[in-house]
Structure formats: structure tokens, C-alpha cells
């Protein structure tokens, strides 16, 4: 099969059970994602969004099932898939003792697809000087730097775990603008959130997760037409307490 025609992400019977309580954080997920999509991974806290993303990155080992990116199975040592995936964790994973330029050097050293001019361009638009130490930055600023470093890669699959959680509305606009400006027709962006209202306009697809299982998945417009409500309205209806 031609690489362009091949699904970008394939999950088959993907399950993850934590030893903690013996319960499944994710159960029997079957999913295929094509290229060039912006997919919202939607669900309340504890629905398995982060677990799903960590399984795709290889940070967690599935209890059952497989994940394939570009037809290559994800495992602890699948370097090829890690080169193709750009992951934004929900917490700050950068060494805060470093200066911005050193972190950019680090990324460009390890990721062949890291676009240094794009990174510096986005950083300068935020007013971040290359010699600025990360530990002098606010949490919101650090989140933006981490997003820039993730989106400055020419990856096939962007996995953004709660990119707009805990930031003010202006910062949300910046983050969504950055995501859109970096999206290209051959890559897919999977972003998890429970703040549907803010991201609904940019989504092409949506996946609703509940207690580790997919409730609804498909084209965002088709879901809206089918259910007769917005994704945000549907979310409030489905996950009403």
C-alpha cells in the first residue's frame, strides 16, 4: 500500500489495564485515522484520553492490542514511530535550568524534522529571547514554549495532551492559532481536551471517550448533523453529571 494512502494511525483492540485497581483505563479501542485531519479526543477527566495518547507515543505498554503509526507498530524501541510523532505532554517536560536556545539545540539535535527557523520565528513573536532561562518564565509561557517546540517539528502525527487546559482565553487563542498555522495537509493532529467550545471550530473529526471506551467517533460535521447539536452541546448532554 502507498504510504500516502495508508492510514496514519491504526488501533486494534487496544486496551490498557492499570495494576492499581485492576480496572481498564482503556478497553478494546478500534480506530483508524487518516492524514490531514484535526481530531478532538473528547471526554471528561479520567475517561482515558491521556492513557490513549501515551499508548500511541509508546510511553505506556498496552495490556492488549496494537497501535500502528504509518504501518509501523509502536513499541518501546520503535524509533521510527517516535521520529514521526510530535508529542505535547500535559505537563512541562523541559529542563527548566536550560536557556531557550539550548532547548532548541536539543530538539534540533535529536529530531531530524525539527524546523529551527520556524521555532525561533514563533518564539520571537512571543517575545522570548534565545538566552532567556526557562525557570524565569511563567507556567503559561512555558506551556507555549513547549507547544512551539512540538509544533516546530515536521511530524506526521501531532499528539497534544490538554494543550489548552488551565490557560487564559487569550492564551487559548494563541495556542489554537499556532496549531492551525503549523498544520499541513499530510499530518494529523490529535488533541485531547474537555474544553470543547474553544476548539470545536477547528476540528475536522471528534472522538468521544467515556470510561475508556469510544462512544462516538467520526467526522465532526457528520456527528453534528446526525445528532442535531454542536459537539459542545453533545458533550454536555452525554457527560451530564
Amino acid at each position: 500500500m502507498n504510504a500516502q494512502n495508508m492510514p496514519l494511525l491504526e488501533c486494534e483492540h487496544l486496551s490498557k489495564r492499570y495494576t492499581k485497581n485492576g480496572f481498564y483505563a482503556l478497553y478494546d479501542i478500534n480506530l483508524t485515522l487518516a492524514r490531514g485531519r484535526i481530531v478532538g479526543l473528547l471526554g471528561p477527566n479520567g475517561s482515558g484520553k491521556s492513557t490513549f495518547i501515551k499508548l500511541i507515543t509508546g510511553l505506556l505498554v498496552p495490556t492488549d492490542g496494537t497501535v500502528r503509526v504509518n504501518g509501523v507498530e509502536v513499541s518501546a524501541n520503535s524509533l521510527e514511530t517516535r521520529e514521526r510523532i510530535a508529542y505535547l505532554p500535559e505537563r512541562i517536560a523541559l529542563d527548566k535550568n536550560q536557556r531557550t536556545e539550548k532547548v532548541v539545540d536539543f530538539y534540533s539535535d535529536f529530531y531530524p524534522n525539527f524546523n529551527v527557523p520556524r521555532a525561533y520565528d514563533m518564539l520571537s513573536r512571543l517575545g522570548i529571547a534565545p538566552d532567556m532561562k526557562l525557570k524565569t518564565m511563567s507556567k503559561g509561557m512555558l506551556e507555549k514554549v513547549q507547544l512551539i517546540l512540538t509544533m516546530a517539528r515536521d511530524a506526521d502525527l501531532y499528539l497534544l495532551d490538554e494543550p489548552i487546559a488551565g490557560v487564559d482565553p487569550a492564551a487559548r487563542d494563541y495556542i489554537l492559532g499556532t496549531i492551525l498555522s503549523c498544520a499541513n495537509p499530510d499530518s494529523t493532529i490529535l488533541l485531547s481536551t474537555h474544553l470543547i467550545y474553544d476548539i470545536e471550530p477547528i476540528l475536522t473529526d471528534a472522538i468521544f471517550l467515556r470510561q475508556g471506551q469510544i462512544m462516538i467517533a467520526g467526522d465532526a460535521n457528520a456527528i453534528r448533523n446526525d445528532k442535531g447539536t454542536s459537539l459542545d452541546g453533545l458533550f454536555r448532554e452525554v457527560f451530564r453529571c
Partner: protein, 268 residues
């Protein structure tokens, strides 16, 4: 892996240099104060006090540098592998074993550096001084050991293997056990630090018990006297058997940690 080591060294070099600089500075001060020592009892009383304090501090900084050299790799491992930075570390397109060995080797380099600094510090502070008489005395005692007899009378290959095992154990042993303990601790769903400490205590206790057991057994079996060639050969074998268990435990820790990182990573 070299790239990983480069960034690892970049992150920690200043810690080793600072600790080394403190050792050398204190050693220099000791040496300087030593120059003012005199045989005149009245003046001596006032000059020996700061000298004694400086010698005490030099020894303290020396010991602290070694403790520090073992703690730095462990802290780095915890921060960059098992805490938040692990999300970045383990999504880099590098093998997990490369991450592990880069940290282990960097820790060993730090120990070698500390060893060289310690040797320099001892030389500056004590060699050729009255305090240096103690070192001269130790050297004299060591010179009594019939190294030729041990090597020639025993098995040279066994002797060399023993020395290599001991060296590898010194360079990698502490870090390997600490890394392994932390990897075991991260399997727990809560109180990971506590479980890491318990794992460390458990592994260390087991290592000490096994080493002591082998030491006692080998001594009981092989050493009756030290005057004939057979006994010298037995001494070599005893040393080998004493060096082997800690080395094997280190190897076991390396393998266990790599398996856990590869198959059971549990970043929250």
C-alpha cells in the same frame, strides 16, 4: 548514545567542577596554613587550630565530593527519567537502553573525575607535610604486600579479572543499584519514592549478605596459610570470589532496570 552523554555532561559538569573546586581550594588552604606551623610551642598552639580545622574540612569536602558524585547521577535519573522530564526523554528517537547507559557512563565519568580531584587534593594538602606522614605510612604498609607473589604465584588472569571486576563495580555499582531501585519503585501506584528507598535497602542488604557469605565461605575453604604458592593462589581465588557477587548484582541491576524501562514504564 554519545549525543545523550553530551547533553548529560552539559547538564551536570558544573556540579562536579564546583565540588572539585571546593576540595582543591580547601586543600590549598590547608597547605598554606601548614607553612605557618612552627616548633615554637607558644605560637604553635594558635597556629595549629586553624590548620586542624582546615585539614578536617579538606577531609570532609573529599568525602562529600564522593557522596555527591554518587548522588548526582541518581538525582538526574530520577528527574529526567521517572519524573516530568521523562515524557521528553522517552519520546526522543533513541533506544531506552541508550538513555540508561548514557546516564550510567556519565555517572562513572563523574566518579573518575572526583577520584582525580581527590588525588590532587590529597597531594596538595598532605604530601610532604607532617600529616602526609600518615599517607607515607599507609604507602609503606601497602608496599609490604608481595604483589609479585600474588600475581606470579597465583593466576595472573584471575588477578586481572578480579581487578577489572572491582573497578567496574566501583564505577558503576552504586549508580546501577540506585537506578534499579528507582525503576522498581516507579512500578508502585503511589509512594514511588518510598518504594524506591525500600528497594535500595533491599538490594543493598542482599548484596552485603551475599558478599559476606562468599567471603566467609571462600576464606574458610581456601586460606590456611599464606606461605606457599597454593595459599597465594587461594588468596587470588578468595579475592575473586569476593569481587564476583557485587559485580553480578550490579549486572543484575543493569538488566532489571533496562527490562523495567522497556516493558513496564509507568509515568503518571
Amino acid at each position: 548514545m554519545l549525543k545523550l552523554m553530551k547533553y548529560e555532561i552539559k547538564s551536570v559538569w558544573w556540579l562536579y567542577v564546583t565540588s572539585g573546586a571546593l576540595v582543591l581550594a580547601m586543600a590549598g588552604i590547608s597547605r598554606l596554613l601548614c607553612l605557618f606551623l612552627t616548633d615554637d610551642p607558644e605560637i604553635m598552639v594558635w597556629r595549629i587550630l586553624p590548620y586542624s580545622v582546615s585539614v578536617g574540612l579538606t577531609v570532609f569536602f573529599l568525602l562529600a565530593a564522593f557522596v555527591f558524585a554518587n548522588v548526582i547521577p541518581a538525582v538526574r535519573f530520577y528527574q529526567t527519567v521517572l519524573k516530568d522530564q521523562g515524557y521528553l526523554t522517552f519520546t526522543l528517537p533513541v533506544r531506552r537502553s541508550s538513555v540508561y547507559f548514557a546516564k550510567l557512563l556519565t555517572g562513572a565519568l563523574g566518579l573518575v573525575f572526583t577520584l582525580l580531584i581527590a588525588a590532587g587534593g590529597v597531594f596538595i594538602a598532605f604530601v610532604g607535610t607532617k600529616a602526609g606522614d600518615v599517607i607515607d605510612g599507609i604507602a609503606e604498609i601497602l608496599s609490604i604486600i608481595d604483589l609479585d607473589g600474588i600475581v606470579n604465584g597465583g593466576q595472573i588472569a584471575l588477578f586481572i579479572v578480579t581487578v577489572i571486576l572491582a573497578l567496574l563495580q566501583y564505577l558503576f555499582g552504586t549508580s546501577a543499584v540506585l537506578f534499579c531501585s528507582m525503576c522498581i519503585g516507579q512500578l508502585a501506584s503511589g509512594n514511588k519514592l518510598l518504594y524506591s528507598i525500600l528497594s535500595y535497602v533491599g538490594i543493598s542488604t542482599a548484596a552485603s549478605a551475599i558478599s559476606s557469605f562468599f567471603s566467609l565461605i571462600s576464606q574458610a575453604l581456601f586460606i590456611d596459610g599464606l606461605n606457599d604458592n597454593a595459599a597465594v593462589w587461594a588468596l587470588d581465588l578468595t579475592s575473586f570470589l569476593q569481587a564476583l557477587p557485587p559485580f553480578l548484582i550490579t549486572v543484575g541491576c543493569v538488566i532489571t532496570a533496562n527490562i523495567l524501562l522497556k516493558k513496564h514504564l509507568n509515568l503518571e
